[in-house]
Amino acid sequence: MTALIAVLLLLAAGVWFGATVDAVAEAAVAGRPVRTALAAPFRRTALMLSRQAIETEHPDTLNHLLAPACYLVLAAAGLSVVPFAPGVAVTDIATGLVLWGACEALVVVVVFLNGWSANAPLPLIGGYRYVAIGLPAMLISMFVLIGTALPAQSLGVSAVVESQRVLINAVRQPLGLPLFLLLGLSITLRGPFNYGDSADLVGGTQAEVAGVQRLLWRGAKLAMLTAFSAMAATVFLGGYLGPVLPGPAWLVLKTALVMLMLVAITHLVARVPPARMLTWLWTVLLPLSFVDLVWAGLEAMR
């Protein structure tokens, strides 16, 4: 029960923190006053709540409504495997990493359905494009996660945390965290990996959405950002482990750190055209994830 409350609290705080940091970073890069950016998330929320929701011509209404909701649920489900302290997790199961992987895979489905169900060309192209990039990105993350399971000799997230008592995985497997961050950008549709909601498609899967629906999708993306950051902090930065401060505090700090990294990358790094990214994913990044896996295996046998 405490774990469930902790998950919901962390999600809510993460959405607020993510929105604020995003607005501040955006204002700083855009050269606009940073002070008003602190209130910007609330104002934007109020604005979206007071606008009409759009209905496109003959959409697949069920999927159009379900997609943002499912995205939010996936964020919560993903976060549920993260332990806040030894033994305190909502789903403290021996297959936590696989459950997280299932959430990643379902994000691809949800983003595609969101683009497809609008029944309009630009969202559809966004959805297709996201599948092409999102699937290989997910494959890479799976190899990287298996790498972290090797020293723990378990697919459970708690065991992965405990295996980092001496040395955190970010140091032990130096390729792991950078590769995993790529997935984070991909499943939260951000910056250099924003192929679903991209600007060249006037917002891609969000091209035809306004009002509450836009707000929901935005909130779900930030919730996923929180869930991913907590997962990355747990698997690569030692999660709740740390001196002096209590475990949950360490987890929150590390989660915030990962979020800051992702937000900075979002606004500072350019995105390459999708065809080029697809080539890189299959010919450079996927082999790199194999190298990471071999590295992890050799290191674990030592």
Binding site: V29, A46, I125, S198, D200, A270, R271, P274
Partner: protein, 352 residues
């Protein structure tokens, strides 16, 4: 009437506006980007106020009406140095020399407080293509494909450009208000998947005029940055004061550090020995120069560069040319089509 807390909170946000640029108004629109009162959005679905900046071309009027009707309620239209359409009821009129900022703010607050009435549609809410009533499910077309089910044109099999495989092609028009294209340019594209099979200029870009070269350049670089998913940097670029050397040099450093140039594939859209990356690099270097640095007419046609390119690459190629070059590269074509398209809406039959 008392404003609710929600409306009061929402009214403090920058006014989301979509700018429909008319003849000779490119430079003035740039000033909007620097205003703290408004946030220029690139999707009409996010906008609350449509700004018609300058008299629209006669042929763009229908597209403008469609654009207006895509805006979610509550909505309004501001006519900045333009004469309101007959159907526009209580129009916000801003004289050509005024700063629209304060007027937009008060209108926006009134809209949210429901003091000002939201504008109704300007066009009848009918499907663009009538129901065909053919085929097993009344979709028209042939077999299970093509036709206009629910009045929406569907793709029909056509030979692929590259290998003779018959795949579904889909024709639609983007522009003249598409945010990733220079104002005024409208293209009819035939797509298979997201690869462009053929392109045709429906409307040429607006002529920027002599004194707007600097403004056009920062707008073009801004569009390019947005295509590279650097929205915040694009905003900085659009708002940067051109005469402030330090600000411009700072901007160039930001752009360089973001790997924006290296993100554009080499050899893309090669014309007269230059590829898109080289043209963009030169354009960024020329930011802050007042005079037009047009390379004396690159020659050739824009529509010949696009077939075979993926959507994003095609847009990168288009925006790698300066506005002035594009005017030369995309001239008005002889056979005219009677209507064109708004930002995210589409129309048109299939490319059989």
């Amino acid at each position: 009437m008392a404003m609710t807390a929600l409306a009061r909170m929402a009214a403090r946000a920058p006014v989301p506006v979509f700018v429909a640029t008319g003849q000779g108004w490119l430079a003035s629109c740039r000033n909007l980007a620097a205003s703290v009162d408004v946030a220029v959005v690139t999707n009409i679905r996010e906008a609350a106020i449509l700004i018609v900046a300058g008299e629209p071309r006669d042929e763009d009027r229908d597209a403008l009406r469609r654009l207006h009707d895509q805006m979610p309620h509550p909505r309004a239209t501001a006519w900045w140095g333009a004469r309101p359409f007959a159907e526009a009821g209580s129009a916000i009129e801003v004289s050509a020399t005024d700063d629209p900022g304060p007027l937009l703010r008060s209108a926006f607050a009134a809209l949210l407080a429901r003091v000002r009435e939201s504008e109704p549609d300007w066009l009848p809410d009918d499907p663009p293509n009538p129901w065909q009533g053919e085929g097993d499910h009344g979709q028209g077309g042939k077999g299970m494909m093509g036709g206009t089910p629910y009045g929406r044109p569907m793709a029909m099999t056509a030979d692929d450009l590259r290998d003779g495989l018959a795949l579904d092609s889909f024709t639609f028009t983007i522009g003249p208000f598409y945010p990733s294209l220079p104002p005024g340019l409208a293209l009819e594209l035939t797509l298979q998947g997201d690869v462009i099979q053929s392109a045709r200029v429906v409307r040429p870009p607006l002529d920027p005029g002599e004194d707007a070269a600097g403004a056009c350049r920062s707008m073009t670089v801004g569009r390019m940055l947005r295509l590279l998913e650097l929205d915040a940097l694009a905003r900085r670029c659009e708002a940067v004061p051109v005469e402030d050397r330090d600000a411009v040099n700072g901007l160039k450093r930001w752009i360089g550090a973001s790997c924006a140039m290296r993100a554009i594939p080499k050899g893309l859209g090669r014309l007269a020995g230059d590829d898109a990356r080289a043209r963009f690099t030169r354009m960024v270097a020329a930011l802050g120069d007042a005079e037009a640095s047009s390379i004396a007419g690159p020659g050739g046609r824009l529509v010949d560069l696009l077939p075979g390119l993926e959507w994003n690459e095609a847009l990168l190629v288009i925006n790698s040319f300066s506005h002035r070059d594009l005017v030369a590269l995309a001239p008005r074509e002889m056979e005219q089509e009677e209507d064109s398209e708004g930002s995210a809406e589409q129309r048109e039959g299939h490319g059989i």
